[in-house]
């Protein structure tokens, strides 16, 4: 006969409630571990999928995944001249939040170097890659956009031609792929009034100069089309991604380019490491702290409930001792109850997780290794939780039956 389960049946409500509570706490612990794994997975996914061998970023910076990086777009042409470089693409990326269908739509605008890059490397789950230079987009499924849906961004309307999965930025917002020129148009969309004001400002500055007064042609040019204004800076991009010819030594090309004083060069692995050590590392510590706290809370709740269950049985434990039961019988009774709460709570956490995790706002990746280590931790806190009760039970004199 198992005394532990008999007693649990007798105190079923209290036991079940505790187990459900522990199960839910453990589910959150499990989910937080999964979110961390998901962060790593998502962060690395883009860098791996885009398939660049070398990243060229603004000199002295750690690149667009760590901070703001701005380099002139024509750097693309400079790096193409380096021996061994097969192709160079612009990396344009920025997060926007616009209104769509009456709700805020937050996305990472990701530029594709049209026409070399049409997003063929993007794993589309529906639809197709880009087929024209403007007004098409591939959206990540997490944004909830439908194939064929039209989205107005700035002055233009873009059509969703493809859907992808698991492509999110470090902030967890879904990626949308556009051509770089569209991406820049979305980012640098300037209202007409701002342009008119800028033209007026330039004209008045020009009129204040001798050169302007004697060269009427100049004044016509400063108020021309925005894209033709000579004083405007050339378009800036965040980084240039290089793909090398097969058999080329990556380190050698990287070394050549890194001698240029205006840029910094990272390999694909360095770029992944930067991602993981920055943003993801902070998230890891934050999630780790929460997990540790929740585990401690679970242990305390378990210890308390095991202790009160033991206190309720103290007279019965004294009677067992009086009848000559070995300490093992009594320790087993308490320990088994703690382990049962732990094991059932863990099972419940796993079961709840299969329903809850897909609904989490961020990707949750549950790895067997994490499940195993959490399992060991749960066994550990179960044993710990029973210690206080066992200590109490061991101290009871069989005499207590008589009082």
């Amino acid at each position: 006969m198992n005394l532990a389960t008999k007693d649990i049946r007798h105190n079923f409500g209290r036991f079940a409630l505790t187990t459900v509570g522990i199960g839910m706490l453990l589910m959150i612990v499990m989910g937080m571990g999964g979110i961390y794994r998901g962060l790593i997975h998502e962060a690395a996914l883009f860098v791996k999928q885009v398939g660049a061998d070398i990243w060229v970023v603004q000199g002295g910076t750690r690149g667009p995944f760590a901070e703001v990086s701005r380099i002139p777009a024509n750097l693309e042409d400079r790096v193409r001249a380096v021996p061994g470089v097969a192709s160079a693409r612009r990396f344009v990326s920025h997060t926007i939040q616009r209104q769509h269908r009456g709700r805020p739509l937050r996305m990472v605008v990701q530029g594709l170097s049209w026409p070399e890059d049409r997003g063929d490397w993007v794993p589309v789950t529906a639809g197709r890659p880009l087929r024209q230079a403007h007004y098409e987009m591939i959206a990540d499924g997490s944004l909830g956009l439908l194939l064929g849906e039209k989205v107005k961004l700035g002055k233009d309307v873009y059509e969703v031609v493809g859907l992808t999965k698991g492509m999110v930025g470090t902030g967890g917002d879904g990626l949308c792929f556009f051509t770089t020129s569209d991406a820049e148009a979305i980012q640098f969309d300037v209202p007409g009034e701002a342009l008119r004001l800028e033209r007026a400002a330039r004209l008045s500055r020009l009129e204040g100069m001798d050169l302007g007064r004697v060269t009427p042609l100049l004044s016509e040019r400063v108020i021309g089309q925005a894209s033709e204004l000579p004083a405007l800076a050339p378009p800036q991009v965040s980084a240039i991604m290089l793909t090398l010819q097969p058999g080329t030594d990556i380190a050698k090309v990287a070394e050549t380019i890194s001698t240029w004083p205006d840029v910094t060069v990272y390999s694909r692995q360095q770029q992944v490491d930067l991602l993981l050590s920055g943003m993801v590392d902070k998230a890891k510590r934050q999630l780790g702290l929460f997990r540790a706290l929740l585990i401690i809370i679970s242990a305390i709740i378990m210890a308390l409930i095991i202790y009160t269950l033991t206190l309720d049985k103290i007279h019965d434990i004294a009677m067992l001792k009086l009848m000559g039961a070995r300490n093992g019988v009594i320790i087993g009774l308490i320990l088994q109850q703690a382990l049962l709460i732990g094991v059932l709570g863990y099972g419940l956490a796993y079961w709840l997780g299969t329903y809850a995790f897909p609904k989490f706002p961020r990707l949750v990746v549950i790895e067997n290794q994490d499940l195993l280590s959490l399992g060991v931790i749960v066994l550990g806190i179960s044993v710990f939780a029973s210690l206080m009760g066992i200590g109490k039970a061991m101290g009871v004199e069989p005499n207590k039956v008589l009082s």
């Binding site: 005394l3 009848m323 069989p398």
Partner: protein, 237 residues
């Protein structure tokens, strides 16, 4: 135990003394008590409240060690003053049976399980334990309540289950501290007669602390305790 019933006494206590506390608060609960019980003998222990009856019973029961004196059970020395000469827990589960004023049943076990648990902690196979538990409940007339929790049993039924539990491991010594206090006189007498029957059938020695003078003729001998001292009661043969 029954085999050597004729030559070895079931219990032999020599010079048992129990002193609680020390200095000003010292209480001598039991003074130089010596007694010998033969196998199959059923004795009653009378005495006013605070006389030291429970102290004596728990000393013999290896629950509450005496300050001085020796205890021998079935020819084996088990206590020398407050020093145990055997593993007292093992000894209790193998050789002793206890019944108290309250039944002290485990509330989460059925009547049958309350009896069989005593055997299971004594390494009896669960199947055999259940079988014997049912036999004992039948013997005590509560077999029909075997599957009920103690809460669903009357006081008398609970006490009979407790008696069944005390008999479960065929103890050589049964110690009962006011077992019938919670029962009506008819039921009380039934329990006393049961002890007598068990003692005579199994050769166990039985000591019953009681206040009930009406059922004294059930016992082979009667002792009386007063101020920690034990002496034979006049009604004793």
């Amino acid at each position: 135990m029954i085999a050597d019933a004729n030559n070895t006494p079931a219990v032999e206590a020599i010079g048992l003394t129990k002193i609680y506390g020390s200095g000003n608060t010292e209480v001598v609960a039991m003074k130089d008590v010596s007694v010998t019980l033969a196998h199959g003998e059923v004795v009653a222990l009378l005495g006013p409240s605070g006389a030291g009856k429970s102290t004596f019973l728990t000393a013999i029961g290896l629950i509450n060690p005496p300050t001085a004196g020796r205890i021998t059970i079935g020819g084996q020395p088990v206590m020398d003053a407050d020093r145990a000469l055997v593993d007292v827990r093992a000894y209790r589960r193998q050789h002793l049976g206890f019944v108290f004023q309250k039944a002290n049943l485990m509330p989460f076990l059925s009547a049958m399980e309350n009896v069989s648990v005593a055997m299971e902690i004594n390494d009896v196979a669960p199947r055999d334990a259940r079988k014997r538990a049912m036999e004992l409940l039948e013997y005590l007339g509560v077999a029909d309540r075997a599957d009920h929790l103690p809460d669903a049993l009357s006081g008398g039924q609970q006490q009979r289950v407790a008696v069944a539990r005390a008999l479960a491991n065929r103890p050589s010594l049964i110690l009962a501290d006011e077992p019938t206090a919670a029962l009506d006189s008819h039921r009380g007498r039934q329990v006393m007669e049961l002890f007598r029957k068990v003692a005579h059938e199994h050769g166990s020695a039985v000591i019953v602390v009681t206040h009930d003078h009406r059922s004294l003729e059930v016992f082979d001998r009667t002792y009386e305790m007063e101020d920690g001292e034990l002496r034979s009661h006049p009604s004793s043969p």
